[in-house]
Amino acid sequence: MLMLLFFCYCAVVITGTGLLAVTLKNPVHSVLMVLILFFHVAMLYLSLGAEFLAAVQIIVYAGAILVLYLFVLFLVSLRDEVKMPRFVSSAWLGRLIAGGMVACLLYILPVFTTGAKGDWPAQRVQAITPTRALATEMYSASVLPFEIAGLILLVAVIGGLLLARREKDVHGDVK
């Protein structure tokens, strides 16, 4: 009962802050709403017993990625609002389409069923702590996908470096 209440609280806050993040006028306020959202997602992870995932959620998303967003917001001056041509001419037609999409989503929701039980029931994960369970699985059974993901990230890093690097001429002056 308590867990259900807790879940409902998190769900309401996540939805609410998500909506506020796209409707608030001030972009910094929007980023703060996303920060609150990330914290509630971490709380959901905690309620499921995935403590490592919760901590990483806060360190990586709240501590690094969102701070970078703030950095970009501060450095890019956003004095004038960005105006785009409307995709759909009438606002009510847009609302109708959005409502239709929600209806479609709700309609296909019952199709989801829980998958087959894996090797890691909750008791076994709790017995050796989630961190160790995650590490054991990631570095033994799933080591190849893990390495491939690492390689893709490395490509992204090298690409970023190449974009950010300024070429130097023979005298060592930056062009």
């Binding site: 920060l35 806060i58 360190i59 970078l68 950095f71």
Partner: protein
């Protein structure tokens, strides 16, 4: 009943830490005074012993000024975010065997998460004040904290690999009670990286660019006054204590010492924290400030590669010895 006991424990911890914070400022002023051949605070009480109390009362009753152009809710919330994040990380610190509020499995990364959260307070304070000095201070702090957090996290990975756990009490137990068991010996590179990153994470000299007095008046805290200004100071000193505690737990064997002091199980822990604090203050009295590009170069080109090399080395040695 259990909740009540926990509440009392939290209150006691809070009171003790606040008292330590107040007297850490006195400690700092006295030490720097004597290092610069002056007396430091002398007027309030015997050898100025009541100075921190007087400072506290003064800042508590001062007017809380909010600039007209400031983003009011964020301006008011920023110091609170800073202080709360730092106070939360106190909950997982083991002061003595069993003396810990929340003995969680992920203690070490919990502290890293909270320290990254407290940087939000500084950044938002800089932005919400709507002033050039505070804004520059906030930007500097942001870049500095992101860069050095990586080095700090990586330096602690070696400790995690040796102890095989993230629980702070278990890390202390894994080091054993002997002098040579302390992780400062096998993890000497990590300890070096940690000490430098610790100074940068807490915005202390020689990395105090976010509040460089000579350039930015007082950096991110320029527009603050009264109790909210004091909150930033409390957060900074609690941050120093938390970082010292992490250094003590991960590298210096936590509460273990050459002999047990009867009745005071936390004796060695507090002593080691005060050694760290003394070094913090000693460095402040000795070293000039870094230039900004030097700070970034040190972080990215020296500390992070060193920490990564340490991880590889620890892994190889652990695989060979078994």
């Amino acid at each position: 009943m259990h909740v009540l006991v926990l509440l009392i424990q939290i209150l006691v911890l809070f009171a003790v830490v606040m008292l330590h914070v107040a007297y850490a400022t006195y400690f700092e002023r006295k030490i720097i005074g004597h290092m610069q051949v002056r007396m430091g605070p002398m007027r309030v009480g015997w050898h100025g012993l009541l100075q921190p109390i007087a400072d506290g009362i003064k800042s508590f009753f001062k007017e809380d000024v909010v600039p007209e152009q400031a983003d009011r809710p964020i301006f008011l919330a920023a110091p609170v975010i800073c202080l709360v994040a730092m106070l939360t990380s106190l909950a997982v610190l083991p002061f003595a065997p069993g003396w810990v509020l929340a003995d969680i499995n992920i203690g070490l990364i919990f502290i890293l998460a909270m320290s990254s959260l407290s940087s939000y307070g500084v950044i938002l304070a800089g932005w919400a004040s709507n002033s050039k000095y505070t804004f520059l201070g906030g930007l500097r702090s942001m870049a500095q904290v992101i860069s050095y957090e990586i080095a700090m996290g990586l330096s602690l990975v070696g400790v995690m690999m040796l102890s095989g756990t993230l629980n702070l009490s278990e890390i202390v137990q894994a080091q054993g009670t002997s002098f040579t068991g302390m992780y400062v010996f096998p993890q000497i590179i990590a300890f070096f990286v940690f000490c430098v990153a610790m100074l940068a994470e807490t915005n202390r000299v020689p990395f105090d660019l976010p509040e460089a007095e000579t350039e930015l008046v007082s950096g991110y805290a320029t527009e603050y006054s009264g109790m909210r200004y004091a909150m930033f100071f409390m957060a900074e000193y609690i941050g120093m204590m938390v970082m010292s505690a992490i250094g003590t737990i991960c590298f210096l064997g936590g509460w273990n010492g050459p002999f047990t002091v009867p009745g005071v199980p936390f004796f060695w822990f507090v002593l080691k924290i005060y050694v760290f604090l003394f070094v913090f203050i000693w460095i402040r009295a000795t070293l000039p400030r870094y230039r900004y590009d030097q700070l970034m170069e040190l972080g990215w080109k020296l500390l992070i590669p060193l920490a990564l090399a340490n991880i590889a080395l620890t892994g190889i040695v652990k695989a060979v010895i078994g």
